[in-house]
Amino acid sequence: MTPSDIRAAFLDDLTLIAPDLDPESIGDNDHLQDDLGLDSMDFLNLVSALHKRFGLPIPEPDYPMLATPAKAVDYLARMLAR
């Protein structure tokens, strides 16, 4: 998977969890909680969706690495490459 595939998949899951977000207007460095307004339940649902899609465990200590779309794509790419 290329980073742009991962990015598209990530935005897919994100907008499924938060249907009122417009994928066009989400910036790569937007903070999911502070800028996009996800609460802890939304965030956990996003992690669950990514877990199902990519088959990665995504333990709680790794949560900060998913703070923005840019960070998340980077993290997912690294984990998938392992």
Partner: protein, 398 residues
């Protein structure tokens, strides 16, 4: 045989728009089945039926805005003969086009034993009224039996400018939440609360470190979809603490307070566009943390998607409002009538706390209670917050 009517979805609701029927005449329904979708100030709500039987006739069409209490469908007893359904009153012409005009505000029919259906009107009048966005009921009919004719619609159109422009089409799927409407609904409920309920407030800081440590250990071995949030533990502790202080869990209706054995625990869910909805987790009293987590996830997802059920937004017996991880220290809530208490949780933060005579950094949260002084006093409220604290120190209790 009985009539299924537009339910009230809260003291602040006067009317709702029928969006979609999920049943058709001849369908058998059981108590609790979802039969229709109604759009309200709180978004689209799935309407449950509280009686078993067979759907006789649908009296309202998708797209119609109807007042609370207006007839929506005829419901026959499960074994009723066909004959009992037919003759009583069917003022709707068979060629009634669907969707009909948004027939706003049927005249109050509460006194009349025979419910009125949509207004009589010629197909041309109906079409033109829908086009103009006019309510047929509001138009004086000059035709046979008071039926509204095309000319009547044109006359009315000159007096009354159309509320909206263009034809009204029934909406499906995710509702377009009207923020102005939601703000009005919140204003009405909160004004009533502050007018009628003598609030008192208590605040208490709770050490969450034991709960956090337990969560970290528990979640480490779980896949994301099985993990728990602190919110689930806070709800569980709140629900269980209510068992000791029943004067905080119930409803104040008319002039009397009725405590509730069941805890239908409302959760204030913030909408990202602004506003909030407080649907309830029904019968939360016996739920373990995992069950509460599942119920919480389900209700938040459905709140966001606009798929709540009417029982969830009308039967709450207490409400919890939580600011989440990025909020401020404490919130002092306004009680959601007819409830008598609201529990607020601020953002959990690391705080210096004294444990075993030593100052330590501990995760802490400020819990607050807004309660109704007509029903309880500060002493009982304090007992309640202390009980939540005590329960949060025993997170591994199943």
């Amino acid at each position: 045989m009985s009539i299924f009517t537009m339910p009230s979805l809260g003291a602040d609701m006067e009317e709702g728009k029928l969006v979609e029927w999920l049943v058709k005449p001849g369908d058998h329904v059981a108590k609790g089945d979802i039969v229709a979708v109604v759009e309200t100030q709180k978004g689209a709500i799935e309407i449950e039926i509280f009686e078993a039987g067979e759907i006789g006739e649908l009296l309202a069409q998708p797209g119609q805005t109807l007042p609370v209490g207006a007839p929506l469908a005829r419901l026959g007893a499960a074994d009723a003969a066909e004959a009992t359904i037919a003759p009583v009153a069917a003022p709707i012409s068979p060629e009634l086009p669907a969707p009909a005009a948004p027939a706003k505000a049927l005249p109050a029919t509460t006194a009349s034993p025979v419910p009125t259906g949509p207004a009589l009107a010629s197909p041309a009048a109906r079409g033109r009224a829908a086009e103009l966005g006019l309510a047929l009921d509001a138009i004086a009919g000059s035709g046979p039996g008071g039926a509204v004719l095309l000319a009547d619609v044109e006359t009315q159109a000159k007096v009354q400018p159309a509320p909206g422009s263009g034809p009204v089409t029934p909406q499906k799927g995710k509702p377009g939440l009207d923020m102005a409407e939601m703000r009005r609904a919140i204003a009405a409920a909160m004004s009533r609360s502050k007018r009628e309920i003598p609030h008192y407030y208590l605040s208490h800081e709770i050490d969450l470190q034991a709960a956090q440590d337990w969560l970290t250990t528990t979640n480490a071995t779980r896949t994301p979809d099985q993990r728990l949030l602190m919110g689930a533990l806070l709800i569980r502790a709140t629900v269980r603490a209510l068992a000791r202080v029943p004067e905080l869990n119930g409803r104040f209706e008319g002039d009397a307070y009725t405590p509730s054995d069941a805890v239908h625990c409302g959760l204030a869910v913030a909408m990202r566009g602004g506003g909030l909805i407080a649907p309830a987790i029904l019968d939360a009293q016996g739920m373990a943390a995992d069950a509460i987590m599942d119920a919480m996830r389900d209700i938040v997802v459905r709140t966001r998607a606009g798929r709540l059920r009417n029982s969830e937004i009308t039967q709450g017996t207490i409400t919890i409002s939580s600011l989440g991880e990025t909020g401020v220290d404490a919130l002092f809530g306004v009680i959601y009538p007819p409830q008598v208490a609201l529990v607020g949780f601020g953002a959990p933060r690391l705080k210096p706390m004294v444990r075993d005579d030593i100052v330590q950094p501990r995760l802490a949260i400020t819990a607050t209670l807004a309660a109704d002084h007509r029903v309880s006093d500060g002493r009982r409220g304090a007992l309640f917050l202390a009980e939540i604290d005590r329960l949060m120190q025993e997170p591994d209790t199943p």
